[in-house]
Amino acid sequence: MSNGLVNTRDQQFLLFEQFKIDGLFEREPYSDFSKDIALMMMSEAEKMAVNVILPTYAEGDREGCHLDKTGQVRVPKCFHDAFKKFCEGGWLAAVRSPEVGGQGMPVSLYTACSEFFGAANFAFLMYSGLTSGAAHLIELYGTEEMKNKYMYRMYSGEWGGTMCLTEPGAGSDVGALKTTAKRLPDGKFLITGTKCFISSGDQDLTTNIIHPVLARIEGDPPGTAGISIFIVPKIRVNDDGTLGEPNDVKVGNVEHKMGIKGSATCTLIFGEDGKCVGELLGKEREGMRIMFNMMNEARLEVGMQALGHASAAYEHAVQYAKERIQSTPVWEMKNPDAKAVPIIMHPDVRRDLLWMKAMVEGIRAINFFAAYALDMAKFAQTPEDRAKYLGFAELMTPICKAYSSDMACLVTSKAIDVYGGYGYCQEYPVEQYMRDVKIACIYEGTNGIQALDLVGRKLGQNQGKNVMNMAAEVQNTINRAKAVAGLKQYAAKLEEAYFAFVDLTMTFASLGKSSSFLIPILNASPYLELFGDVLVGHFLLWGAEIAQKRLEEIFEAKGADTIGKRRALVHEDPEVAYYEGKVAAAKFFAAEVLPTVKARCEVIKQGEKIPIEMAIESF
């Protein structure tokens, strides 16, 4: 029976049958791991998610966060015990190096665990996620003193962390920020300014909070090039490690949001009384470059949030559709004695469920592969390999973030459709998935910004080699799938989509060279979606090719030599049912979605500029 959150069989398929991450365990830095250990960790993650985190999901949403009379933010009460258990389990710093208190876990393996945590309650997961990310900045750029003072206590979960970029007048345009840093005689800085939409900005889970804050040192140039980054504790830390005076960081308010209500989204006022002291992290005017380390990780985590919610919504919808009895089947229309059947028997519901399944498995593959690419970059033996895999991760980051969240919104919406009126009611959990996931399209750079990052920065990165390497991967999948009897026609569909997409990419590249940016920029979002569709087609077909081989092996071992016997096995053997589903989802996606890719590419290439040409007054 399903745990209602994540299909562990599909996770294991991706990790061990498709990407074969156990190859990573052969040498440093992952030689302490084995497949057994990986499975045990995934199983513990499932327990942590289902038994500890999931019970906080609805309760955290109903209770929300509030600012108390003393100016302290209170998170949902049930988060406290769960946070303690989560940190004790070593999950907060799972992917960090053992030398700094982490577990040195491969990112791809942690990603499978994190899908579970995000599916159970992403609002809860944000407190630890931001803490780990902020501590990592100190690990990469901090002095030894800063590491001793802050980093270890953050990785253990004793203190929290945040990421302070956004200001009321500087969201997508970070360069417009107004927070200032004034030099003090001792080399530290006085920080003054207001930051808004700060996740985990204040909370009562930890005794202190360490804020990485973007600010401009007085006299530095405007724009992003003049931004530096500072470490600003909520409460000052004495040299002996004890807590000192409050550091003049005040909470202006806590936002009342559509979703992720358990995550405290705060306005923070730094230095209202002129007493907020920060320490420079890294070099002056390198704040954006430094912060991007955290932002890139955070973007991948947002992709995982999207995946987690989509997965949980799908698992719930399937379970409900198997149990909910309503209406007689359409082929019994004229039979007055026909009995009502589970709604999964109705073609329209069934079709939606298969689309959801294909999409969930597709974005799972995209996100897992990006994580695997990060591991491979560490594991690589040659500089070429390292560059190749790092290139995959960089190229895929905006797709993981934006495509996953856009698709997850649709998946969670369809889950509500499957539940009907009940899905719209709080009594059932799916409406919360839809509310909680919408933010994934917005924060960490809106999906519009992600599309611009893809088109304007990532396509041309590494002289276009990253995108060419990815194209070669897709071509390999097409070639392999063409050799499998039942998949040939679907491989042809992927090939047609792939050619059209490559052609559009070349068009964008030549437009970029001739400084005709408007068409690529105007169509950046549809382009990102096309890229996502081609990647889903690629990963699903790659998986189907493996699944088809496994099926043949099982059929042979069980002597299923006729179609009748093979069909019967689907009902008896859960492995056969899983592999058949894998193949069917790939075929469905190839048959239904991929044929639209070519037409959508053509539309963009026609170069229509109607939205720009139409006057604003006409809107």
Binding site: M1, D32, M40, M41, E44, E88, G89, G90, M105
Partner: protein, 257 residues
């Protein structure tokens, strides 16, 4: 303190059990295996005693190769070492043969207290702990929800219908754990990494001087009968009519009133 915790690997409580076509057992394909939940209470109590008094926790399990996962889980929770009794003669062993093998393995070890789950959730026999205590010739307290140890004696609380016993016994003894005793901890990531380096002895029945022969034999597994479909009462659309119809059915068909 030397503490022993006996664990059994069982199908997950959520697993959908299918009986094999020939009734010789259950289909194991696709089943997720977990530590018997009552044994988890025993392991947790063992770890808490170790944290209080010092010493070692040894995990013992009778089961096939896959049972190693369950031993490793207990080691990841914090136990020091494990013994796996893996012998085909003991696959599908009854409570007596299992307890006999456990007793033989435990006899050579120093121990102050032995924990078992009050029963395993797969066969529900609730006999292994008590038989083990008898074979070792030591006291036993079963279904324990609270345990206080002062180093020499144990004071255990055991619920009975509408009341509870508080039982005092000397050590060593066997305690079978039930829900309420504690909240089992989760294996931590550092615990999992350490667990793989902890020693686990694998023993055969012959190594322990037992035959593995069961005293009872399972003749056949049969699934519970499928639940008959429900009946919707719609004879007459008034509440009175429906109530009359329901009463009639309860008396004549269900024969419960």
């Amino acid at each position: 303190m030397n503490i022993i915790a006996c664990v059994k690997q069982v199908p997950d409580t959520e697993a959908q059990i299918k009986v094999k076509g020939d009734g010789s057992g259950i289909e194991e394909g696709g089943i997720k295996w977990v530590m018997n939940p009552y044994d988890e209470f025993g392991v947790e109590e063992a770890l808490k005693l170790k944290e209080k008094f010092g010493g070692e926790v040894t995990i013992i399990s009778v089961g096939p190769a896959r049972a190693m996962e369950t031993i490793r889980t207990a080691l990841a929770m914090g136990a020091e070492k494990g013994i796996q009794i893996d012998d085909p003669a003991l696959y599908n062993a009854d409570a007596y043969a299992t307890a006999e093998a456990l007793a033989a393995a435990i006899k050579g070890l120093p121990y102050d207290i032995i924990f078992c789950g009050q029963r395993a959730i797969d066969d529900d026999s609730a006999q292994v702990g008590p038989i083990l205590a008898e074979l070792l010739g030591i006291p036993q307290v079963t279904f324990v929800t609270k345990l206080e140890i002062d180093g020499k004696t144990a004071k255990a609380t055991r619920p009975i219908e509408g009341a509870q016993y508080v039982i005092e016994t000397s050590l060593p003894c066997v305690v079978t754990a039930t829900k309420g005793l504690n909240e089992p901890r989760y294996a931590s990531l550092p615990g999992i990494m350490k667990a793989k380096k902890k020693p686990v002895d694998i023993k055969k029945a012959a190594d322990l001087g037992v035959s593995g022969a069961s005293k009872s034999k399972v003749v056949k597994f049969t699934p519970p009968p499928a639940r008959p479909p429900g009946k919707i009462i719609c004879a007459d659309d008034t509440p009175e009519g429906k109530a009359a119809e329901l009463a009639k059915l309860l008396r004549e068909e269900a024969k419960v009133i």
